[in-house]
């Protein structure tokens, strides 16, 4: 017989033999103070604080509860007068010995001791022996008690430095006071384990979760530093884990997996500065890399988001960012631009200002490369709203003031004079470089790397590597920002899926559920299951009490608890109980529905119950975690939560999910390179595509692009793509056709088309829509464009270059002006491609006519990525002259008797420059097409510049917030051919997530309308963020589209009459909870 019953403070407790009274008391939330007890270590009975009174017939005795084993019939009192008196004396004696110790002062206050009556000593060791026992458990036994009586203390043998101490620090960790001084124990200095994710800016333990968003979010053991794995000692984590989840025997495994395609996305590494660099990184403590600063800014970082200097922990008042560290720098073999640093430095400067408004942020840069969608607006806000100062100067070195550890920077200002400025902190905006592992990986996979060490891809098939079937995405192919990485990832997924689309879904076995029981006619029979969540809940909430209470509630026929309700055996137990008690409602009191509701609902389905006959009481996230210090109130709150959940559950009813068949066709609007690539990619995955183009021919603006950056042939691409599209059996092309009206919703769209030749079907049905409607070239009104034949746009010049017109050889001077119709008040965005287009054309022109002079008048050269090297640096080497002009000092163009004069201000010489080109080329930008019409038809939004606005810039870069509609190409924002192709392919992968489904299933908690009572006020329509509610003009009532409804409940909140309600949150169910809460 292993169970015994003991009595503590008059209450009976059933427990197992072998436990101590202290353990039983702890389990039942009975407070007994301890100092020398730790559950990982053998009890010791040294501090005598845990004394309890054993009651026997007629007499009693005091003994330490940590060493007192339970036996049947044992009766103890933990708070009797005798016990309290003894504890007071113990505390008083300890306090006399260590009068300054916080832990003792707290205890003294609790027991009402003002001052010890004994002579005070000056010690901080209370001789609890935790450290000695801990060191024993760790193996070395480096310390022990020496001497006797009042000379007793903890020391290594002979009070000399220990030779066996392994400097693990466990003794200091366990010490309840602060008595351990490691320097007295060992000669070795403890070396902290630095947190890799926080860039070594803080320590971490051996058992750790790599970072807050780690997937899976589980702790791991750093085997290199784990004492158990190294020496077989310790093992405390295994003893402590309630779920018994610690497995020291896990080993690396080699797995063999059959795959049809491989996607390579190992990411990048930040540029590592060489030792002895001129910035003093690793030498001057307040010089950080941008990624280190990023961690400092993070709320989960080393300083909880407070900006502090490494040298003294003070908040910096002035921070400088130095751009292009390890980018655009031939001297360190990083000839490319890292593309992202301008924006991340701006972001860091802005966030620094947000965290600490009095900080001064200065950014030293060469060209501001804010080329992405809405990036220029952010750059403007950083200056105007946050006062970030930008200085155009590359900083070669940083000096340090030895006493203050401040940093000194010398720079040349706009006037050309040398200035000096002192900073509290300097952040190096380090560039992106290929990750180290790529070298080996590329050999294993046999894919080629380019000259910069990134994976080589073809510009016009930008996810294909040199190896068939292996695709690459993200920064492994070129430095890039998040939107481009996410887009490329989807594009790679599309390519990977093409190879294997025919076997899609063949290895999936569908789960079969038993037939659902009919319960509507039955009275509720509720089962309540309360979870301990290890000690997460049970350590605070009295779970047993909650269970006992649940049993008293109406219609509850069964209540039980389990250590982990989410564990497999608990799920089986729940299923058994559902059968045994014929339960028709299940209430689980545990963690949070956010993570666990689907799991429990599935358990109900497996037991033949509708999954919505389930209700959850959140007693962990919203209870035990936040009320740790008030266990009694937490238990009461758990009881209330369970009563509310039980009350609601009586009003639950089965909810059935509708299955709406998907039309497996796609509509692609726009027949430019984006639309064609999207159509091809969707069709290649096995779906029918309708491709609609307004113009009589396919091709869009690609028809006007003749030269490639790396010698690729855009016109070849055009020809090839048009042929593929026209010849594809699954693509129907409708040229000269426009969209007249679109109705329906994701999975089931209907579109009316109009065409002049009337050969198109009147209406087509499709499951998804891709918007690839393109952009327009800007027609310049400035710089006398219309006044002279010698003033042309880049596109016109490019055609002449391609055709090799004879006049080109006769030209003596060509001037190109950048940002024509871009980055101004009318079009306050960067057109992204014009810098590269100008350089590409200038280089070609130089090939044709090497003796001619070429001036490029620019504001910032934005040749990001490898274009920096292949265009900009090459152009400089070829002698192309770059003259920067300021936004407020645009060049002036005059024509006098047919001669062109360009006047601009030369900033280095600080005087006006008069140029007399015989050809003036305007680098005109890209403007949005008339997007309003389609935007209204599809109910999709535009941004401030009238390009379409995607659902989320980074996370959903080619989706619209409206389900089933996707976006690519110039309709999204200005971009290069290869970037348009990536987006186009990405839309096909996104489209396939819908087209590959047989059905779309409605969610359970969707809204419904009692149409009989609808007054037709339309408030719900305005409140719905998903356009899921429509108005029936004839019946004057609203209707909910069950597929589009996401179950947010906004409609039922605005509906005053209860006409619009939400399944699983009906007014009646909520009222039931409120009533129960107020009971």
């Amino acid at each position: 017989m292993n169970t015994v019953t003991i009595e503590i403070n008059g209450s009976k407790y059933e427990t197992e033999k072998g436990k101590t009274v202290l353990e039983v008391a702890n389990e039942n939330n009975i407070e007994i103070p301890t100092l020398c007890y730790h559950k990982a270590l053998n009890p010791y009975g040294a501090c005598r604080l845990c004394v309890v009174e054993i009651l026997k017939d007629g007499w009693s005795e005091l003994t330490t509860s940590c060493t007192l084993p339970v036996n049947d019939g044992l009766r103890v009192q933990t708070d009797s007068e005798k016990v309290v008196k003894s504890r007071k004396m113990t505390i008083e004696l300890l306090l006399a010995r260590c009068p300054e110790e916080e832990v003792l002062l707290e205890l003294a206050e609790e027991y009402g001791i003002e001052k010890p009556r004994f002579k005070k000593k000056d010690d901080n060791c209370i001789l609890c022996g935790l450290c000695v026992r801990m060191c024993e458990r760790m193996g070395p036994k480096a310390i022990s008690f020496i001497n006797r009586g009042s000379d007793r203390k903890v020391k290594p043998p002979f009070e000399e430095h220990s030779e066996v101490c392994q400097t693990c620090g466990a003794c200091a960790f366990i010490c309840p006071t602060s008595a351990i001084n490691l320097e007295e124990i060992t000669k070795n200095k403890p070396i902290p384990i630095l947190d890799e994710f926080d860039m070594g800016l803080r320590k971490r333990s051996v058992m750790h979760i790599s970072y807050p968003q780690a997937v899976p979010n589980w702790p791991v053991i750093d085997s290199e530093h784990c004492i158990h794995l190294q020496t077989d000692q310790c093992g405390i984590c295994k003893d402590s884990c309630e779920a018994d989840a610690i497995d020291y025997d896990q080993k690396e495994q080699e797995l063999e997996i059959d795959v049809g395609s491989v996607i390579l996305s190992p990411g990048f590494e930040e540029y590592t500065l060489p030792k002895g660099d001129s910035y003093g990184y690793r030498v001057y403590p307040n010089v950080l890399t941008s990624i280190e600063f990023e961690r400092i800014l993070s709320a989960s970082g080393p300083y909880q988001g407070h900006i502090k200097r490494i040298s003294d922990g003070k908040s910096p008042k002035k921070i400088a960012w130095l751009q292009c560290v390890g980018s655009r720098d031939e001297s360190c073999d990083r000839k490319y631009c890292s593309s992202v640093c301008c924006m991340y430095a701006t972001k860091e400067a802005v966030i620094a200002k947000e965290h600490q408004p009095d900080v001064e942020s200065h950014i030293y840069f060469m060209d501001m490369r804010s080329f992405g969608k809405d990036f220029d607006k952010y750059f403007a806000r950083a200056q105007d709203e946050y006062g970030v100062v930008y200085r155009r100067c590359r900083i070669p070195r940083v000096e340090q003031d030895r006493t203050t550890k401040n940093l000194i920077i010398r720079y040349v200002d706009e006037d050309g004079s040398l200035k000096k400025e002192t900073y509290d902190m300097v952040v190096l905006s380090v560039g992106l470089q290929p990750c180290k592992a790529l070298g080996n990986l590329s050999k294993i996979l046999d894919v080629n790397l380019n000259e910069y060490g990134f994976v080589e891809t073809d510009p016009f098939s930008p996810v294909n590597t040199s190896q068939k079937g292996i695709y690459a995405s993200g920064t492994v192919t070129e430095p890039k920002d998040i939107p481009e990485s996410v887009t490329q990832a989807s594009a790679a997924a599309a390519e990977a899926a093409k190879n294997i689309f025919e076997v899609r879904g063949t290895e999936i076995t569908e789960k079969v559920y038993p037939k659902e029981k009919q319960v509507s006619a039955e009275f509720p029979r509720i089962g309540v299951f309360v979870c301990h969540c290890g000690i997460n809940i049970a350590g605070v909430v009295d779970v047993k009490q909650v269970v006992e209470y649940a049993k008293t509630l109406p219609y509850v026929v069964h209540a039980d608890d389990s250590i982990f309700t989410c564990s497999q055996d608990s799920q089986e137990m729940i299923k058994e109980k559902i059968q045994e008690f014929n339960l028709n409602r299940v209430v689980i009191a545990s963690c949070t529905p956010r993570t666990h509701e689907p799991l429990f609902q599935d358990t109900l389905r497996e037991a033949g119950l509708n999954p919505h006959l389930f209700e959850m009481a959140n007693i962990r996230d919203q209870n035990s975690w936040v009320h740790k210090n008030v266990p009694r109130s937490a238990t009461q709150k758990a009881i209330d939560a369970v009563r509310m959940a039980v009350s609601k559950s009586t009003d639950l009813y089965p909810v059935h999910h509708l299955k709406i068949p998907v039309v497996h066709n796609a509509l692609v609007i726009g027949g430019g390179i984006s639309g064609m690539q999207s159509a091809l990619s969707i069709a290649d995955q096995g779906y029918e595509v309708f491709l609609v183009e307004r113009e009589p021919v396919l091709g869009g603006h690609l028809r006007d692009i003749y030269l490639g950056v790396n010698g690729e042939q855009p016109q070849e691409l055009l020809k090839e793509t048009v042929e593929k599209v026209n010849g594809h059996s699954r693509i129907q092309v409708f040229t000269g056709t426009t969209v007249e009206a679109v109705s329906g919703y994701v999975g089931n769209f209907k579109t009316k088309l109009t065409s002049e030749d009337k050969k198109v079907p009147a209406e087509i049905e499709h499951g998804i829509i891709v918007v690839a409607s393109g952009g327009l070239p800007y027609e310049p009104v400035e710089y006398q464009y219309a006044k002279s034949d010698e003033i042309v746009t880049q596109t016109e010049f490019e055609k002449d270059l391609f055709d090799g017109k004879s006049y080109l050889k006769k030209l003596q001077e060509v001037v190109m002006i950048q940002c024509v119709g871009s980055r101004n008040d009318e079009h306050p965005y960067c057109s992204r491609v014009c810098c590269s287009q100008a350089l590409k054309n200038a280089l070609r022109f130089k090939e044709i006519n090497p003796d001619a002079t070429v001036y490029i008048l620019y504001r910032d050269i934005r040749t990001y990525g490898f274009r920096e090297d292949v265009l900009y640096q090459k152009a400089r080497k070829k002698g192309i002259l770059f003259v920067r002009y300021d936004e407020n000092e645009e060049p002036e163009v005059n024509i006098d008797k047919g001669n062109i004069t360009v006047k601009t201000f030369e900033r280095v010489l600080r005087r006006p420059l008069h140029l007399h080109p015989d050809k003036l080329v305007l680098s005109t930008g890209i403007i949005p097409a008339d997007n309003m019409v389609l935007a209204k038809q599809l109910k999709i939004p535009l941004n401030a510049d009238n390009f379409y606005a995607e659902a989320h810039v980074k996370l959903r870069p080619v989706d619209f917030s409206a389900d089933g509609i996707f976006l690519c190409g110039l309709a999204h924002s200005p971009r290069f051919i290869e970037e348009s192709i990536l987006q186009a392919k990405a839309t096909s992968a996104r489209a396939a997530t819908i087209l590959s489904k047989e059905y779309l299933e409605t969610k359970g908690n969707i809204a419904y309308v009692t149409s009989r009572n609808c007054a037709g006020c339309k408030l719900c329509i305005e409140a719905c963020p998903y356009d899921a509610i429509t108005f029936d003009e004839e019946k004057k009532i609203v209707e909910v589209n069950e597929i589009l409804c996401q179950g947010c409940g906004a409609c039922s909140a605005v509906c005053p009459s209860g006409v619009s309600q939400q399944n699983t949150f009906t007014k009646r169910q909520i009222l039931s909870m409120v009533d129960a809460c107020l009971e």
């Binding site: 109406p554 009586t650 009989r1012 009572n1013 609808c1014 007054a1015 037709g1016 006020c1017 339309k1018 408030l1019 305005e1022 409140a1023 004057k1036 605005v1054 005053p1056 009459s1057 209860g1058 006409v1059 009906t1066 007014k1067 009646r1068 009222l1071 039931s1072 009533d1075 009971e1079």
Partner: protein
């Protein structure tokens, strides 16, 4: 602004306005009129929808508002907009209510021309029907106005005493009393193109009227002061205990909801099955509290109704007039409307384009109670 006047014949203001309205009907300017007219028994005036000018005997100045005329316009136009032009003669509070109902898609102003009337206030129904003075109520209130006497105030409904605005806003034309010598004239103010079209060809006199603007300002200020005082005086009516006592007499008839022009629901939530409960729920309540008053949801009804309509409350006071238990609902509803509408800077009835706060999303709204 006001440049037209209607001459009063023989000192009979009501009769002269009746003739004017008759002219509108006769000339075919409007196809029908919704207007207050004495019932045959002469006990009271009620709104009638009238198309026969011969039967028109309008009493637009009758100091009584038995039902909401805004609700009637809603009833007429909700399912189908008027096909032919209908003139609706309305009190200022009812025009405000109508504007709210239009926002709520419960009425259509298509082919509706609003003829607003300056309001001198209205009496409770029983006072109007059993009027203690020697004159008939209409004559009494018009004479009091003419003589600048305050004797009518003692009979006014409390909502009218502290009226939010007794001068019509958002009407197409306004029949103006304030500032006019009503022994001789009534102002006819043209406010919209529709109003202008309505009066096109109708014979009215033109006169340069200066007194109107100032008189309107004075009466508005006077009412605003009275209302401020009222709100201040009643501001102590809050907290569940005080409110429970306040609604003690409620018999749960829901007449207030039926009389309210803003309560547009087809079936009130509080009449629906949402509040049906199993016997055990009632019994548990009794067990846990020892006792509780039945019916148990009357305070919830009033607070729930208030929560639903208070932002659009135009303070017409018809709820209070409808209460069989004489609960002085305006004591609670006017201060609540004042603070709720102020909170959202919302002005019911003022601008048909102003959206109901419930459907307006503002990112920076209530940051102090939301997430940072």
């Amino acid at each position: 602004m006001t440049d037209k006047i209607l001459k009063v014949k023989n000192g009979d203001v009501a009769g002269s306005v009746n003739e004017f309205l008759k002219e509108l009907l006769k000339s075919g300017k409007v196809h029908a009129l919704l207007v207050m007219q004495e019932v045959p028994s002469k006990k009271i005036s009620f709104p009638v929808l009238i198309s026969d000018p011969g039967q028109l005997n309008a009493n637009v100045f009758a100091p009584v508002l038995p039902v909401s005329t805004a609700s009637i316009v809603s009833k007429i136009t909700k399912f189908q907009a008027a096909e032919k032009l209908v003139g609706v003669v309305m009190h200022p509070c009812q025009i405000r209510a109508l504007v709210e109902l239009v926002k709520l898609n419960q009425a259509s102003l298509e082919n509706i021309v609003i003829i607003g009337v300056d309001c001198l206030g209205t009496f409770p129904l029983n006072i109007y029907t059993d009027f203690p003075e020697k004159k008939i109520p209409t004559q009494f209130i018009l004479d009091a106005f003419k003589n600048k006497s305050k004797e009518a105030e003692k009979y006014l409904r409390s909502a009218c005493l502290v009226c939010k605005d007794p001068v019509p806003v958002n009407a197409d034309i306004v029949l103006g009393l304030y500032g006019a010598d009503i022994g001789k004239e009534v102002f006819v103010e043209v406010c919209t193109d529709a109003g202008k079209k309505l009066l096109d060809g109708i014979k009215l006199d033109s006169k340069d009227v200066k007194g109107r603007e100032n008189a309107v300002k004075v009466v508005r200020e006077d009412k605003a002061n009275k209302r401020d005082e009222f709100v201040k005086k009643k501001s102590s009516l809050k907290g569940i205990k005080v409110l429970s006592e306040f609604f003690d007499k409620c018999v749960n008839c829901h007449n207030c909801m039926k009389a309210c022009p803003i309560c547009y629901c087809k079936e009130c939530l509080f009449d629906s099955s949402v509040f049906d409960a199993e016997a055990y729920k009632f019994l548990r309540k009794a067990e846990s509290k020892g006792l509780f008053k039945m019916p148990n949801d009357s305070i919830l009804f009033h607070l729930g109704r208030m929560n639903h309509m208070i932002l659009s409350c135009v303070e017409c006071g018809l709820c209070e007039q409808a209460c069989p238990s004489d609960i002085l609902l305006m004591d609670v509803f006017i201060p609540a409307a004042e603070s709720a509408q102020k909170e959202f800077d919302y002005h019911p009835g003022k601008d048909p384009e102003e959206k109901i706060p419930m459907v307006v999303y503002q990112e920076d709204e209530y940051v102090e109670v939301g997430e940072a």
